[in-house]
Symmetry: C2
């Protein structure tokens, strides 16, 4: 039996960049699957549902279903629902996040006194009224959690404000710190992924383009950590960082060869 | 001639609280004016024009004109216009701030490449699109200034998010720090007030309810600093703070008596 049976693949910067597939990523993923490896896509973004990400992948030539995707909103919704089933939640986020929370059995409300959790997320529909509603709930003692810690989100030709804008605004006005962030590098994200795969960390490798989220989480969880150079982190970032991947590849096209090496007897 | 010829009075928490006049504030101000003292109202809030604040004061029984008011948006607009006449500005703020900037001869624009200054302010019409526009300008090298540093704004029965929400969101996503904040305790605010009064700092006293903005600014500028206990700061705040007012009054009604004492020969 192969030592590495599951691959967790980051999406943006690893499988695709903006709307373009990383060259050879489709063939590499197909080859791993042919060898019987399980592939799970792991993203910090709460902008689409798991189904939505599966559709994006399929449109780029990588067959995928909802069960092949784990993202920060899914992990957050699942964890909150386990800790406090049916809890009343106020979320600053887009429609797919709200749907994810409701699907997990949480109750969305804007009733200040009733709110048990304030959720901060990437939200291109952010308004001052939303910030104020969340702030009033925090003043009343609501817990304060977030989907992902990212400062910005890379887009074609640049970057745009990510969840850090919402977290920082709420922290500044409330004088409180966010209590938990569920996206990478959170151990909650690693647990959820391993849970979906049904594999132990030692049997899994994670491939991602960010040292401080992807590689940090893989190392902490005990997975094999593979940095790919098609996204944010560069060789000079690597030289300067205390976070060390186990392996470095130029791009996902090199993964089948690395897989063969990792699983040599 | 009296030693103290001008009084700078903070508004919220000093002259009124929410929509109610502090008891006796109207008579105290009338008495000071009868004695020939010049009274100038000095507020950090950019929510109304100077004219708007004069109208609010008049409606509460304190006659005032535009020339009797200095607020953070007025000071910011004046300073920017002096430093960079006609500069291109993108402001996150409400209509009175935008009007103040235009009146000072600055050019409002949303053209990312052209923006020379990003202005962060209290804005109940904040949206993600505004944050993104400001962020893109900051990425292109625009200067980064703000009207006031306040975390929250006290309102009837509570508080709401103030300019700190906008400043923190932009700082978090851009990785930059705001370069200058023009409201109290900024020396720019003190200079503008003294300029309007045509008096030196030694001839002026400031009355305010916040140690860290009102009293800090008065002390730094060399004005007589008078803390009034009708607003935010309490006697226990005072005991714990390194910022020392020269005098403490229970409310503005005590000011004529203190004025008499300050001007004793």
């Amino acid at each position: 039996m192969a030592r590495i049976q599951g691959y967790l693949l980051d999406l943006d910067g690893t499988v695709y960049r903006g709307e373009r597939l990383i060259p050879g990523a489709d063939r590499a993923i197909a080859e791993l699957r042919t060898r019987g490896r399980r592939v799970l896509f792991v993203s910090n973004k709460p902008l689409y549902s798991r189904h939505g990400y599966a559709e994006i992948l399929a449109s780029l030539g990588v067959p995928a279903t909802e069960d092949d995707v784990v993202n920060s909103s899914f992990v957050l919704a699942r964890c909150l629902a386990q800790r406090a089933p049916g809890a009343k939640v106020y979320a600053i986020g887009e429609a797919p996040l709200l749907l994810e929370l409701e699907t997990a059995g949480l109750e969305l409300t804007a009733e200040t006194d009733a709110i048990e959790y304030v959720v901060a997320a990437f939200d291109r529909t952010l308004t001052w009224d939303k910030l104020n509603a969340a702030f009033q709930a925090l003043r009343c003692g609501a817990r304060f959690v977030a989907t992902n810690p990212d400062r910005t989100c890379p887009v074609e030709g640049g970057e745009i404000p990510d969840a850090a804008a919402v977290i920082a605004a709420l922290e500044a006005v409330s004088g409180r710190e966010v209590e938990e962030v569920f996206g990478k590098p959170s151990p909650r994200m690693a647990e959820a992924a391993l849970n979906v795969l049904g594999l132990s960390a030692g049997r899994c490798a994670l491939v991602g383009d960010r040292l401080e989220t992807d590689i940090a989480m893989a190392r902490a969880a005990g997975m094999t950590a593979i940095l790919t150079l098609t996204g944010v982190s560069t060789r000079s970032d690597l030289a300067a960082s205390p976070i060390r991947p186990d392996h470095v590849i130029e791009g996902l096209a090199e993964l089948p060869a690395l897989d063969a090496k990792l699983n040599e007897r």
